[in-house]
Amino acid sequence: MTTPAKTSDAADAAEAAGPKHAGADGRPEPSGPARALRAITGELRRMPYLLLLPGIAWLIFFFLVPLYFQAKMSVSSGTLDKGFDLTWTWSTFSAAFEDYDEHFLRSLYYAGAATILCLVLAYPLAYTIAFRAGRWRSLLLVLVVAPFFTSFLVRTLAWKTILSDNGTVVGFLNTLHITDVTATLGLTEGDRVLATPLAVVTGLTYNFLPFMILPLYASLERIDPRLHEAARDLYASPASTFRRVTLPLSMPGVVAGTLLTFIPASGDYINAQLLGTTRETMIGNVIQSEYLRVRDYPTAAAMSFVLMAVILVIVTVYIRRAGTEDLV
């Protein structure tokens, strides 16, 4: 377990005695400068650990210890009434893969589709706010954040109205025969959009869009507009200016945004429940019902563990590939 609270360690002294800026304790001690200095550095050395102690202790006890209990539960067996015993039953894991592999794949597929859609939708808006908005910039930023203040469940339910079978949107899509195309692709069924994969992906995209826009905007806003001028002066077309200047410089925002949308989307069960049917259930729905309805805790724990491992592997590989390790 991680215990960062180490106080007296000689090897530590050199490192800790030199905090970046001598902190808030320059209290002079009356009895000789040498002793005073030692007292001050001693206090300084403890300072970061004192600051860390409450928060880190909290996270260890309520974040790491629960993960241990979850791991233990995943290889236990028993029932709610009799209690659960550690029996090293690994079958929960193989069962999780055999029975629910399609839910895992569907989650990754929906979350991936939503992430790509978020990126495609968010980029023009973030670009507009960063470079084209002028004095409308703060208003647009407020409009991006504003939906957060209405409970996301209420907003997600509004999609039931927007995508309803005899609503304007679906009628429009039907007239343009777009639903025929999506139906061939297996995204919708008949003339309906609600209760299809398309509805779930629409909801996921909608829910996590701000998490893509804000980091994208933050990285675009930092780009010096003179770089665009320089590219133009060197006869770059708008397209190649974007491809060779803007896009590479906004990569940190793209990486942060894709992570902030993909991770929560992969574990979501709200959109699948509210906008989909049992054919669209994701792994989150399974964990939720195993835990809260069936009360088969070992299975729920095993699946939650697998989900965590899969996401951590994907995130690590992705960050390595994208080459930005200083995200936090």
Binding site: P66, L143, S151, V328
Partner: protein, 264 residues
Amino acid sequence: MLKWLRHNLVVFAGLGTLVYMLAPNVVVFVFSFNDPVGRYNYEWAEFSDKAWTDPCGVAGMCDSLTLSFKIAILATLCATVLGTLIAFALARYRFRARGLVNSLIFLPMAMPEIVMAASIAMLFLSMGMDAGFTTILIAHITFCVSFVVTAVKSRVIGMDPALEEAARDLYASPIQVFLRVTLPLAAPGIAAGAMLAFALSFDDFIITNFNAGPDTVTFPMYVWGAAQRGTPPQINVIGSAMLVIAVLVVVAGQIVGRRNRAKA
């Protein structure tokens, strides 16, 4: 003309995205004036201001709102204190285990919410703790801390240490330096972290759903239940009213900020 269109294509696409983002809010607002036929408020029937004149007219909803506020305020306070202390340690000191601390902060944000929800529920289960107010509060504080750390840390790193040195040179005591210089400088970061924590806690569903008892129904849980039982227009009223209040607060803050800047 064609050139103008091509030049502004990105703006039109951006505004299209904005429409996609705001459409549900418009629907929520419009349907708060609906008098639905049947239990669900998904199809327009006729105009009514019943829900606005009697927002607490449905059983349990306003109690759930009060509970959500209580939990969000307490969770914000605790998470802001814990997170701010960690942020100062990370931004101001070099120490061993720095990498470990950074990972411990990053990890809760790097896994789907449901993993944290299920694992912390299993801790309470193993400890024999009954799900209720306390378990929700503990879970909310846990996931809010990391976000506060991130918000405060970036602010503290950007602060000019010369200002605090100047205060010390002018014989300010350590406590005075902290209260009169450090804290006011860090305040925007702390406020941003606190606001984020409040928003996350108030609107959280997944973690709450795993750790709530039968008597602790927060507002998001109420809405979830309503989606199964029947949705009264009153939930649209609450959704719209909170948006209006929040936007008013933001606008007021901007006006005050502008006036202060004009004075300075």
